[in-house]
Symmetry: C2
Subunit: 265 residues, 2 copies
């Protein structure tokens, strides 16, 4: 069982990383990220790639979460506080009553991640996805369909932002990722390693249903609205999802679910 540490004072220095969580999302928090809720903490502890540094828990949740807490390494402190203290520390009403801090560690560059992919692999490549809901949804689908990596260009937002992790249901802590460089560079890195790279676009040349997945597949997704840059579409195999006509508009995360479901069979 982990150590339970009672917290009676919102100013307790032991829980400093949890202070004013919303405001600090924007400023970053020195190599840490926030885990919110039971579902995400469970994913972090069972499948996650990141070290969990500490947990902050409402008193009235301790009994119900005993099983989950039993899975924590002994050196991870579990701070326990009443609701009033908890809300005062976090800076907003913490309905789920459970927070944890994870450590980002040293990010792996895309080249290293690509170099160690298995012979049979599925990779998600993201260009300019700047919306935290969409990044979260994309990671959730990547994990659900067993993608081996998510590669993001430098214009993508942070998958370890609080909301991204929550929307991903914890998948952002599970699937290996790298962020940096341009989408063209990421695609070139994959092509050089024998990947087929499919660029998704409403005007793609091939129907998704006609694609026969090979052993090393990558699917590239761009932001809703602008989509992928034409220069990138011109040099890649392009694929489309046929819709009904009339109202042809899909969310990018949903698009990834449909594409990955097809490529995984």
């Amino acid at each position: 069982m982990p150590r339970l540490i009672a917290v009676g004072d919102p100013a307790d220095p032991g829980i400093e990383p949890y202070r004013d969580i919303r405001e600090r999302d924007l400023a970053g928090r020195g190599g840490r990220f926030v885990i919110e809720g039971e579902v995400v903490l469970r994913a972090a502890l069972t499948l996650g790639r990141f070290k969990v540094e500490s947990v902050l828990l409402a008193e009235n949740r301790v009994a119900a979460l005993a099983g989950l807490l039993a899975g924590l390494p002994d050196d991870v402190p579990v701070h326990v506080a009443g609701r009033a203290v908890l809300d005062a520390v976090a800076g907003f009403p913490l309905h789920r009553g459970i927070l944890a801090m994870g450590l980002r560690g040293t990010p792996e560059p895309a080249e290293g991640l690509i170099a160690r992919l298995p012979r049979q692999a599925l990779v998600v490549v993201l260009s300019a996805i700047a919306n935290h809901d969409n990044i979260g949804g994309l990671f959730r689908n990547a994990a659900a369909f067993g993608a081996d990596a998510v590669l993001m260009d430098e214009a993508c937002c942070d998958p370890l932002y609080r909301k991204s992790i929550r929307v991903s249901a914890g998948a952002a802590l599970v699937t290996p990722f790298a962020r940096g460089g341009t989408a063209a560079e990421l695609c070139d890195g994959l092509l050089a390693r024998g990947f087929e790279v499919l660029a998704t676009s409403p005007r793609g040349a091939e129907r998704l249903g006609d694609i026969l997945p090979g052993p090393r597949m990558a699917a590239l997704f761009g932001a809703e609205g602008p989509g992928l840059p034409q220069a990138l579409l011109d040099r890649l195999r392009t694929v489309r999802i046929d819709m009904a006509g009339g109202f042809d508009s899909l969310n990018v995360a949903t698009t990834s679910g449909i594409v990955l479901h097809h490529l995984r069979r």
Copy 2:
């Protein structure tokens, strides 16, 4: 061209329905619903099933939206205001600078909607979807894959809530829907009219990929977490989406995208 009406005073009675939009989401607004942003208004005007009652526009957007406004019927007033007046009326900063009011009209009961479906039809049935993001996402996919109707049980939330419409990219105004009764009643109504009803579940008996769509298909989706009631699963054909194992968790809207994409081919 529609009538442009200058508004200089936030208290102008002509724009009463726009007052304090956020607070009134919860209380309802007397048969009206709110259209936000250019994408949704365009969907409402080109594909929508509801009458647009009026438009409220920021001065600095009039020129850019001239084409869209030209498509308005002559009897629809367009109120034009400066930013300060606009934000004061709406009660929050209105970044998109465009709002409109739609009229709900008389809701059609499910039986009537089912009775007039074409011989070849695809229907989405929703049970206890109480999250406005998910309802919006489900409608967006229903419209993209040409579903003929969305039937919601009485435990579903309102698809004409402001956020639902926005997340649906306007699809909630396009695809015919009915809300009321139980999911079992809705399914029985469809079965009686020769529909095959597929209940989606992570433990479904058949793989989605093995389903050969017939002429009249319906897909039933339940809330994330609890899923569909066992009593309903016991009496319907059940279908699952195979995932990778490990992290088996899909958002319900994404699930609908994958299922409808398969049923529409």
